[in-house]
Amino acid sequence: MNNENKIATRQSYGEALADLGEKNENIIVLDADLSNATKTNIFAKKYPNRFINVGIAEQNLLGIAAGISTYGKIPYVSTFAVFAAGRAYEQIRNSICYPNLNVKICATHAGVTVGEDGATHQMLEDLSLMRTLPNMIVISPSDDTQTRWVIEEISKIKSSVYVRLARLATPIIYDKKQKFEIGKGIQHGNGTDATIFATGVAVSEALKAKEELAKQNINVRVVDIFTIKPIDKELIIKCAKETKRIITVEDHSVIGGLGSSICEVLSESYPVKVERMGIEDTFGKSGKAEELLKYFKIDKDAIIEKLLS
């Protein structure tokens, strides 16, 4: 992991999307007046004829994307996570997932790491809302390399996909040779003292904690669950069998997201105690992203403290 070189997954998304536009003429990008923040503006500048700005109208945004997909085109739709998964939830349900249309929803500004904008804009329930929808694949990338791979890979899959992207710049975890597969977690290390399952911005925090804990002779493994659905049951059960503790970390409500997903798998197949770290059934608040990670106890220090307890 490169702690010096940081980039937000929204930025990786914007750049990858513009690259993808060159390779695939069927890519159409839609935004709702947030293209500067979601980074779809990079694509918009390059391919203005394949970019549609609908204005501040997220329900319409998802509906238009559904219509475009019926013509065999591949719409990538962006807005903030709270407006995509939240405001337009029912449009996603009834006009995209139920008819099984090929729409890619790439929602940025997920989690408390949105920062200063505060609770109204910090989406903490999107993984929960999106993963209950049939015909939906849910992805929560952890770094630049992975995000770029995901953005191209999902264009090859005929399914609706929800991609959860972050505003906060985080370390680059993977080098370009890293192999990814949708539905497969990535295991870092073979420590047996604990498994830390993490997703999104929490993965780099977990990896930092892993390094520091190793100095104190506590050997943990970190598993990057970047596909929330379909989830990697096999790897989750294997890690539960091989390690003494199971901890989950996410910049999302502890209800319905990664922690709940891990609990569902283990309670059915290999019941063990699961300790969930995330936002505890509350709304976010204003502050600097790093301060909020600490405040809500999902940063490196909180993970270390948990392991030492």
């Binding site: 204005g55 219509g67 997909s69 009834n94 008819p99 099984n100």
Partner: protein, 278 residues
């Protein structure tokens, strides 16, 4: 093949009305009122206006129809069966377990259904997406979207209307089934819906008002919309909820209720009588 004789189209509309009653009666469930009010509109679209071929329901260059008021699918199913997309026999299974004719239309289950609908307010946005795509591909398709009047109380309709106008979607034609009634009463009383023509005009639509049960007027209106360039059109079709069945006409209670055996027999006999007198 286009049917141009008014009497022939009126007979088809009547046949569709019979099949609407049959479906709702067999299912003992469904929405007869709003289905009957749009039967003439669907007849004109599918038998006189749209570029479609039941043998090639997925042809890329076909015109599209989105039934945004999806609960009125008995009218759509009857129309599609009449047009030859599938056997009329299937209408008997409407709303039954394992039937492809679901309570609201499903794009993946029924040939000829261009979009899954049912949740009100969403069809116009989808139609805008289709119209934009057709323009991008220079496919030359026209996109038709049938809206309920109660339905346009949904805010998303006006988001979509703004987009249609901004994108100059002259290949998009919405039709408002303006029967004046919604579940809880009149559209004026329940949602405060008034000045429909002015509303759509101010959103940049070419607005045409017609008698939604006059086949000739409907044909003329659709023909006018094809000539209009640079803006989307909407046909405000003044209709009667429950049209064609005396005891259902303008009766809000028939929004979503099935007839009993006696009512069914009366409805069918009234409609059959009309057919012969045409």
């Amino acid at each position: 093949m286009k049917i141009t004789k008014i009497e022939a189209l009126e007979n088809i509309a009547n046949e569709i009305r019979v099949d609407i009653i049959e479906q709702v009666y067999n299912a003992q469930s469904g929405h007869p009122g709003g289905s009957l009010s749009c039967a003439d509109i669907l007849t004109v679209l599918y038998f006189n206006q749209m570029n479609i071929d039941p043998k090639r329901p997925n042809a890329k260059e076909r015109d599209r129809f989105v039934l945004s008021k999806g609960h009125c699918c008995p009218a759509l199913y009857a129309t599609l069966a009449e047009k030859g997309y599938f056997s009329k026999e299937l209408l008997k299974d409407f709303r039954k377990l394992e039937s492809n004719l679901q309570g609201h239309p499903d794009i993946n289950k029924v040939p000829g259904v261009d979009m899954t609908t049912g949740s009100l307010g969403q069809g116009l946005s989808v139609s805008v997406g289709m119209a934009i795509s057709s323009k991008m591909e220079r496919a030359g398709c026209r996109i038709y979207c049938l809206l309920g009047d109660g339905e346009i109380e949904e805010g998303q309709i006006w988001e979509a209307a703004m987009s249609a106008s901004k994108n100059k979607l002259d290949n998009l034609c919405a039709i408002l089934d303006y029967n004046g009634l919604q579940i809880d009463g009149t559209v004026e009383d329940v949602g405060g819906l008034t000045d429909v023509k002015e509303k759509f005009a101010s959103f940049g639509f070419n607005v045409i008002e017609v008698d939604g049960h006059n086949i000739e007027s409907l044909i003329n209106a659709f023909n006018i919309t094809k000539q209009k360039k640079g803006m989307p059109s909407i046909i405000i079709a003044n209709t009667i909820k429950g049209k064609g069945v005396s005891f259902m006409e303008n009766e809000v209670s028939w929004h979503g209720k099935a007839p009993n055996e006696e009512q069914y027999k009366q409805a069918i006999s009234e409609l059959k009588l009309k057919h012969f007198t045409n």
